[in-house]
């Protein structure tokens, strides 16, 4: 029984049972397998649409991740009521290019959503992402506001600090989940990168995550598992994160990082801030759980 089937079964089954709580169990053994050396691609350039294609090319292009008919979820950070140039949200051009590539790769459906911190409509609008996607004008593409009915309780079997939480159903049952965080400063976790971006698909009182945040993010990463992480460092926020607001805190780098290994992507992105992977608790915790590589020497970096 795979995860998707299980989710479907649970929903069919709960159709008859009023008070039953559907629960997910992710088999730990599936996660523990030995991995080959992780690939990570870095590209630099001012044409962001072309940059997305370039950074994916060494990894085999979007076709490597999205198969025909797939239900694809692209999860940007659009959690803040901030303008694109303020670097609090993922660059709309990057999100648009990824969505466009996923559609070209034959995706049956492309969903884009984030559980925002500021008011959701303002975030979707002012991040520029809603308008950028509207420009693609494709019926398979949908930018959705979160639907509270779709948060389902999930058992996190491998979790050390976080053993169960409500997670968004669409994020769990996607064929291809693409994580597209913006790289930026964060008071508590120092940086917010790929693992932290997964907090946008969970329900509940997210403030509770802040106690032992690094380990909890690693625990969450055992169940929210992107096939591809693309870190937006076209411009990064150096101070007053995660929402910024002062353009003096923004640094333009014109850089994208892509990897199938979420830990490797975060580890590499850390260096853009003159920090080491070991400085970020969630990276270390995820590495220790075998979720990916944080040793930069062991990551094969391909410059595209």
């Amino acid at each position: 029984m795979d995860r998707r089937q299980f989710i479907k079964d649970v929903f069919l089954w709960s159709a008859g049972a009023t008070l039953a709580v559907p629960q997910f169990r992710i088999i730990p053994s599936a996660l523990a397998a030995e991995r080959p050396q992780p690939l990570l691609s870095v590209a630099k350039g001012a044409d962001y649409a072309a940059l997305v294609s370039r950074v994916l090319a060494p990894l085999g292009g979007m076709g490597q991740f999205v198969k025909s008919g797939d239900k694809v979820v692209i999860k940007p950070n659009m959690g803040w009521d901030r303008k694109p140039e303020q670097a609090a949200n993922t660059n709309p051009l990057v999100v648009m290019a990824l969505a466009s590539l996923a559609l070209q790769a034959g995706a049956g459906k492309v969903l884009i959503f984030d559980r925002s911190c500021n008011e959701a409509r303002r975030c979707y609008a002012n991040s520029g992402i809603q308008a950028a996607l509207a420009g693609l004008d494709d019926r398979r593409l949908k930018i959705d506001h979160m639907d509270n009915r779709k948060f389902v309780p999930v058992q996190i079997a491998r979790g050390k600090s976080l053993t169960s939480w409500e997670i968004y159903k669409d994020a769990l049952d996607a064929d291809c989940y693409i994580n597209v965080p913006v790289a930026k400063h964060h008071g508590l976790s120092r940086l917010t990168l790929g693992l932290k971006n997964s907090m946008g698909v969970i329900g509940g009182n997210r403030g509770d995550m802040h106690h032992d945040l690094g380990q909890k993010l690693a625990d969450l990463a055992t169940v929210v598992r992107p096939k591809l992480t693309v870190i937006d460092a076209t411009r990064i926020l150096l101070r007053n994160g995660p929402q910024g607001g002062d353009l003096n805190d923004v640094k333009q780098l014109d850089t994208l990082i892509a990897s199938a290994d979420p830990v490797a992507a975060d580890a590499y992105a850390t260096t853009l801030f003159d920090l080491q992977p070991a400085d970020i608790d969630s990276t270390v915790a995820a590495y220790n759980m075998g979720l990916g590589e944080m040793d930069l020497a062991k990551i094969k970096v391909l410059t595209a």
Binding site: E119, R206, N240
Partner: protein, 521 residues
């Protein structure tokens, strides 16, 4: 009912009422963020057309309120067409008429004649407003209506619809949801609020509206005939209106059918129609067996029907309105305003604000964070239903200026975004006995994460503390930089403690209230 050869005119009137009620609902739903920072419709137009609220705001502020100039339209309209505003346009009137289908009332004029009460209320409200006791919003029909809809009816409607579709989502078979979910999506995109709303005083607001409707049981349009101070104002103007009704006379003999069906009780024993009471519903025109009733434009007759006020009661009303405000300054809140009285950004200084605010609830309806809530007694009993920020319920969204855009009377100034960013509505304080990094040595600083000022007003410093297990740990402890804090309350709202927030906003340092600042700056 007698059938006429062509479409009876009262059907046109009903259609007109329906259209204006639909327009009211449309503007009500549009009183919401629309995807851009500026609202696209003048959603507050109903209130700006209201001459009662205009006069009350002008009297209270002793200044002309330009925003309320459209109220002149209503006055001129009434001077020409009499109280047809009440009969054809007023959404509250339409609702009262609609309720008559359910709440039956005795025919014609029965019971005690309470007609002058609305004039006394009007005079009382205006005199009190002039001398510092603002009350117009409590009896104004639009304020009553919008408050009840915003705080009670609309949230209940949302709850009913959402519950239904949540139930079907969880329990209906796939083919059922394939049909139902698009319906839910459609409703969400059209008539439902974007997110579930909560409001204080919802039940009280609903009760007041229900009372207006239930009064139908004793007289048709009881509220409009006897109590509505706006109706009273329009009635006074209508006595000079050009369009006048001509009723029957002695030749009608014993026929008094018009008098029996008049919803306003405007037709006297001698079948003369009072222009102050007739709301031109035109039921009688279609009914009159001899077609004797008609309307025509004519200069007003000097012997207009008496208002029914007595000199003694008039003097008493004026005196009460003048004396009651004297009792307000003697309350403790004069010396110490409630520290939780946090007004929306752009609100005028408190006395001016209370005078101008018409208690319409528009700001609370539009508030994107659901932060603005009706006050209970924080601003005194006359401040009930005025807006205040309850940060634990909702916070003031940093880049939003909607409340100032919908305020019909300028009690909340319309602010540009840079101006709004500079307005301090209160200030945050930490409760170190609750705050996790202080009290328990547990990492948190969710407040710092959400603090929206570009240079964060909440900062933190690392501190070694001993936690509950006796371990020495280093945690980041948050603190507020007063000069940067604007009191938006997102910290209090997002504080993850399940009960009382460990960081709370009080009204200290409000820009509008000079002198409520610790440092004087």
């Amino acid at each position: 009912m007698v059938r006429n050869r062509k479409i009876p005119v009262y059907l046109w009137r009903r259609l007109c009422q329906l259209l204006f009620f639909a327009l009211f609902l449309f503007l009500f739903i549009k009183t919401d963020y629309s995807g851009s920072d500026e609202l696209e419709y003048a959603v507050n137009i109903l209130f700006r057309l209201d001459p009662l609220l205009a006069l009350a705001a002008i009297f209270a502020g002793k200044t002309l309120v330009a925003l309320m100039l459209p109220a002149l339209i209503t006055l001129v309209f009434t001077l020409v067409f009499g109280r047809s505003f009440c009969g054809w346009i007023c959404p509250m009137g339409a609702l009262v008429d609609g309720a008559a289908a359910v709440i039956r009332s005795p025919q014609g004029t029965v019971g005690k004649e309470l007609r002058p009460v609305k004039y006394y209320l009007l005079i009382f409200i205006l005199v009190a407003a002039l001398l510092g006791l603002p009350l117009a919003g409590y009896l104004d029909p639009f304020s009553l209506l919008v408050r009840a809809f915003s705080f009670a009816v609309y949230p209940a409607f949302d709850f009913a619809v959402s519950s239904f579709f949540t139930f079907t989502y969880l329990h209906a078979p796939d083919w059922g949801n394939a049909a139902l979910e698009p319906v839910y999506d459609f409703l969400k995109n059209t008539v439902l609020p974007f997110s579930h709303r909560v409001y204080g005083l919802g039940l009280l607001s609903l009760l007041l509206l229900a009372l207006v409707l239930v009064l139908n049981h004793w007289q048709r349009r009881f509220f409009c005939r006897n109590l509505c101070p706006l109706g009273g104002l329009l009635a006074l103007v209508s006595r000079f209106s050009w369009l006048t009704a001509h009723g029957g006379d002695e030749q009608c003999g014993k026929c008094r059918q018009c008098r029996a069906i008049c919803r306003m009780g405007a037709i006297a024993e001698d079948r003369r129609i009072s222009p102050a009471d007739c709301n031109l519903c035109l039921d009688c025109v279609a009914l009159c067996p001899r077609n004797r009733i008609h309307f025509s434009f004519r200069r007003p007759q000097p012997d207009a029907v008496s208002s029914g006020m007595t000199r003694r009661a008039f003097a008493g009303t004026v005196a009460t309105g003048a004396l009651l405000p004297l009792f307000l300054p003697g309350r403790p809140l004069t010396r110490r305003p409630d520290p939780l009285l946090i007004r929306p950004p752009g609100a005028l200084a408190e006395d001016e604000f209370l005078g101008r605010c018409v208690r319409c609830g528009e700001c609370m309806k539009v508030c994107i964070g659901n932060a603005l809530q009706p006050a209970l007694l924080e601003a005194g009993i006359e401040g009930m239903f005025t807006p205040l920020v309850r940060s634990r319920i909702g916070y003031c969204e940093y880049n939003c200026t909607l409340c100032g855009q919908v305020c019909p009377s300028g009690a909340i100034k319309k602010l540009t975004l840079p101006a709004k960013h500079a307005v301090v509505i209160g200030r945050a304080f930490f409760d170190k006995n609750l705050c996790l990094p202080y009290a328990k040595g547990i990492p948190c600083i969710v407040c710092e994460e959400h603090c929206p000022t570009p240079d964060k007003a909440i900062k933190f410093r690392p501190q070694q503390v001993v936690n509950a297990r006796g371990e020495t740990v280093t945690v980041l402890q948050p603190f507020v930089v007063d000069e940067l804090c604007i009191g938006c309350g997102i910290c209090e709202n997002k504080c993850p403690l399940p009960g009382r927030a460990a960081v709370r906003v009080t009204g200290e340092g409000q820009t509008r209230q000079a002198g409520l600042t610790l440092s004087g700056g």
